[in-house]
C-alpha cells in the first residue's frame, strides 16, 4: 500500500482502542496526503495532547507533539517562520475547543495557512471520558454522572465567525468525503478547518449506550446529511456535512511579506 510510505510502521499496531474513529482519520489523512503527493520533507504535523494528538507520531512527516491545547500556537511559529512548509494540525475536541479555544479563534482570525483537523469524539478520551465542550446537553460522562447541562459549540459557526476562510465538516463514516475535504483544506491558502465526527467507543459510546464502533458509525450515517439536502428540511436536527466556507482572503504569511517590504522602504 503506497500510503504506508507516509506512516511510521514500526509504531503499529497503534495505541488507539479497537474501533476508535481516530484511526479512520489517520487513514483518511494519509490517503489525502498521498493523493496530493506532497513531499514529506515539506510537511509538518503539529498536535497537542489527547488520544487524537497521538496521530502525529504515526505519520512520517516532521512531527511536533506539543502540550495540551496549544498546537495551533506552536504551528503558527512553524508556519510564519518557514512559510513554505505545509502545516497540518489535528486536534481533539477538548484540545481544539476547550483549553485550546483561544488559539483556535486567533489562528482563524489571522487566516494563517494552517490546516486544522478537529477530531470530535465529544469527550476527553485520553483522560478517561469526561465531558467536553462538544458533548452537548444530556450526555453522560465520568464528570457528568447526572448528565451534562453544557451546550456544545458549533465548531463550524465558531470557525466561521472567527474568520477562517475554509470551513468544512464530515464524519469518519464518510471516508471518501473525509479525504477529499482534507485535501481541499490542505490546498486552501488560508486557515482551514475540517471538523470530523469520530467515535470513542471506549468512553463516549459505552457511557451513552451507543453500542460499539460499528453502531456509532451508523449513527454518523443516520444523523448527518450533505449540505443543502432536502432531508434537513424534514428533520432539522440532522447535522450537515460539506464545505461551509471557502473564500479567498489575504493569507497571514503573505501579508507579512508586505510588512517586510514596507519596513525596507521606510
Amino acid at each position: 500500500m503506497a500510503v504506508k510510505e507516509y506512516i511510521r510502521e514500526r509504531f503499529f499496531p497503534h495505541m488507539w482502542c479497537p474501533g476508535c474513529g481516530h484511526g479512520i482519520v489517520l487513514n483518511g489523512l494519509v490517503r489525502a496526503v498521498e493523493e496530493l503527493a506532497i513531499n514529506k520533507n515539506e510537511l509538518v504535523i503539529v498536535s497537542g495532547i489527547g488520544c487524537s494528538s497521538r496521530i502525529s507520531g504515526y505519520v512520517d512527516f516532521h512531527s511536533l507533539h506539543t502540550v495540551h491545547g496549544r498546537a495551533l500556537a506552536f504551528a503558527t511559529g512553524v508556519k510564519l517562520s518557514k512559510p513554505k512548509l505545509n502545516v497540518i494540525v489535528p486536534m481533539g475536541d477538548g484540545d481544539a475547543l476547550s483549553i485550546g479555544g483561544n488559539h483556535f479563534i486567533h489562528a482563524a482570525r489571522r487566516n494563517i495557512n494552517i490546516t486544522a483537523l478537529v477530531m470530535n469524539n465529544r469527550t476527553y478520551g485520553m483522560t478517561g471520558g469526561q465531558y467536553s465542550p462538544m458533548s452537548g446537553v444530556g450526555v453522560k460522562a465520568t464528570t457528568a454522572p447526572y448528565s451534562t447541562i453544557d451546550n456544545a459549540f458549533d465548531c463550524v459557526e465558531l470557525a466561521r465567525a472567527a474568520g477562517a476562510s475554509f470551513v468544512a465538516r464530515t464524519t469518519v463514516y464518510h471516508v471518501n468525503q473525509l479525504s477529499e475535504l482534507i485535501k481541499k483544506a490542505i490546498v486552501h491558502d488560508g486557515f482551514s478547518v475540517v471538523e470530523i465526527f469520530s467515535q470513542c467507543p471506549t468512553y463516549f459510546g459505552r457511557k451513552n449506550k451507543q453500542g460499539g464502533a460499528v453502531d456509532m458509525l451508523k449513527i454518523f450515517k443516520e444523523k448527518t446529511v450533505l449540505i443543502g439536502s432536502d432531508k434537513k428540511k424534514d428533520n432539522p436536527a440532522l447535522m450537515e456535512r460539506g464545505i461551509f466556507v471557502e473564500k479567498e482572503l489575504p493569507e497571514y504569511c503573505k501579508a507579512y511579506d508586505e510588512v517586510i517590504a514596507r519596513a525596507r522602504k521606510a
Partner: protein, 74 residues
Amino acid sequence: MSKKKLKDHLINRDWCKGCGICVAMCPKDVLVLDGDEKAMASHPEKCIACRQCEKMCPDLAIEVITEDAHGKEE
C-alpha cells in the same frame, strides 16, 4: 482508469484489532472475524474491490490489492 479487479486482501493480523468495522461496512459481506477476532475474507469472490474496508479500517490493517482488466497489478 480501467476497471479494477480484486487480486487479494492483505490483512495485517498484527495490526487488526478485531473491531469489526470492515466486516459491517463491506457492502458485499466479504469479510468476517475469525476465531482470533481478526478480519478475514471469507468470500473474496464476492468482493467488488470498492476499498471501503481499506479506507474505514482504523488500524490501517487492510489493503485491497487489485489488478486492472489487463492484469496489471497496482
